[in-house]
């Protein structure tokens, strides 16, 4: 067996091993969110999760992923996470591990807080302070649930 073939095989095996080891982890892609007792937003939180937290994947049901963090298990919506490594099979090749590793590498880069700071210095007339105020409108979960109940609102399956 030539050296180049050996190297090739070793490379393939290393790739498979690394992919398999990383295959059941997701990374939180939002600033903060909750891991919940059930697969719905109005379920109580089991644990909080913040940007770039890595969570162990246990199972998925529709748009929800059951994860584990610090030994606590619960549900997180798929829009709150990026996949760290989803092994590429023929039908799922668009989800190669590279995408999200790239996203993680880009965290804090590009149009980031650092760029905003410079932009604010260059444009002091802009109303960033008001945007900060706007972001403070965060309605507690209990208030949204009370609003839903009082309004006799029952969540329905998403229409096609």
């Amino acid at each position: 067996m030539t050296r180049s073939i050996q190297t090739l095989i070793l490379t393939i095996i290393t790739f498979v091993v690394l992919t398999a080891l990383a295959a059941d982890t997701v990374s939180v892609s939002v600033r903060k969110t909750s891991i919940r007792t059930e697969s719905r937003f109005y379920a109580p939180a089991v644990e909080e999760a913040v940007y770039k937290d890595e969570l162990q994947v246990l199972m998925t049901v529709k748009d929800w992923i059951k994860v584990s963090k610090n030994g606590k298990e619960g549900w997180i919506h798929v829009s709150a996470v990026s996949s760290i490594a989803v092994a590429a099979s023929s039908s799922e090749s668009e989800l190669s591990s590279e995408y999200s590793e790239e996203e993680i590498a880009l965290a804090g880069k590009g149009f980031s807080e650092q760029v905003e700071e410079q932009y604010r210095q260059d444009n002091p007339e802009l109303a960033f302070a008001t945007v900060d105020e706007m972001e403070k409108y965060a309605v507690p979960l209990a208030d949204v649930i009370a609003f839903q109940t009082k309004g006799k609102l029952i969540a329905r399956e998403r229409a096609p």
């Binding site: 398999a20 892609s29 994947v57 590279e98 905003e116 932009y119 609003f147």
Partner: protein, 302 residues
């Protein structure tokens, strides 16, 4: 000899991982030539793909970048409009908006959804990328019940979900930004790089503000946002007829020559109504308007 030993161990390890003797019992795993998670394309349908090393289009922007772009767009919009200082009504639209966002295709975004009333007689609403949504007091006054207000907020959430704001960034600005950002991992930029990147950030923000405030989205984008709004409002439990009712009152207001806004940046209400009716019939969405909601709104009417 040593190399062969390493190779043998590697092959055994590789095979063991490829074909685990005790596949995990969870429904996540399939043995399909490689161990794979059943987190398929559909699962991540709303998740941005950063394909390969080269970022090309608006969809390659990360959620974090979308958020910072949205903050700057909002900071510009808020130099043109004053926030309507009314904690009760702002809390109301934020609570309603949050509930609607849960039924949307992107319920969780980097910084969450935030809504605010802005002072203007125009009947208008704007959605900046990253979930910053502005509703004029003129619009708030023109809606007749909670179903209609839900329809309007759902329409704006739909623009965020569908990333219509980011699509307004000129290709040349995106290309310039991506080439400046590069792909190597660096903790921060030097001053020159930072100034260049901030320049192109500003140009991208202006592209979006211009589209939001001046030219408006394309008709196709507005129709898509209407369709998605129907799904969102219906999913949250609202009567999907709220959108049609609001468009009818908009049509009436426009005929009476009332202050414009929506009419300059949106397609004619009549055309939107036709499309909305067609969609509702096609997917057979129905619902009822509960009095509890109507009376709640009546108490908060402007």
């Amino acid at each position: 000899m040593k190399r062969t030993g390493v190779l043998t161990v590697s092959i055994i390890l590789g095979i063991a991982l490829l074909f685990p003797s005790q596949p995990k019992a969870s429904p996540l795993y399939t043995i399909n030539g490689a161990v794979s998670l059943k987190l398929n394309k559909d699962t991540f349908k709303n998740w941005k793909n950063i394909s390969g090393k080269l970022r090309k289009g608006f969809s390659d922007l990360t959620a974090e970048e979308e958020y910072y772009i949205g903050r700057a767009v909002s900071a510009k919009i808020l130099t043109r409009y004053k926030v309507y200082d009314d904690l009760e009504r702002n809390t109301y639209i934020n609570t309603l908006g949050q509930l609607l966002a849960w039924s949307s295709s992107r319920p969780e975004i980097f910084g969450g959804y935030h809504f605010t009333l802005i002072e203007s007689d125009e009947i208008n609403a704007f959605a900046a990328p990253g979930g910053f949504i502005f509703v004029t007091t003129g619009l708030y006054r023109s809606v007749e019940n909670e179903e209609q207000l839900a329809a309007v907020l759902a329409h704006e959430i739909a623009h965020v979900n569908l990333q219509h704001g980011l699509r307004a960034i000129k290709k040349s600005n995106l290309t310039e930004a991506f080439s400046l950002i590069g792909t190597e991992v660096a903790k921060s930029y030097n001053k020159e790089q930072l100034l260049q990147l901030t320049g192109v950030f500003g140009k991208s923000v202006d592209d979006i503000v211009n589209q939001l405030v001046v030219s408006g989205y394309s008709r196709g984008q507005e129709y898509d946002a209407d369709e998605e709004a129907l799904r969102i409002a219906h999913g949250a439990g609202y009567n999907p007829d709220g959108l049609g009712e609001f468009l009818e009152s908009l049509q009436q207001a426009s005929e009476e020559g009332q202050p414009k806004g929506f009419t300059s940046t949106h397609p004619p209400a009549e055309k939107r109504l036709g499309k909305v009716d067609k969609f509702l019939k096609k997917v057979e969405l129905t619902g009822s308007t509960e009095t509890q909601r109507s009376s709640r709104f009546a108490g908060l009417k402007l």
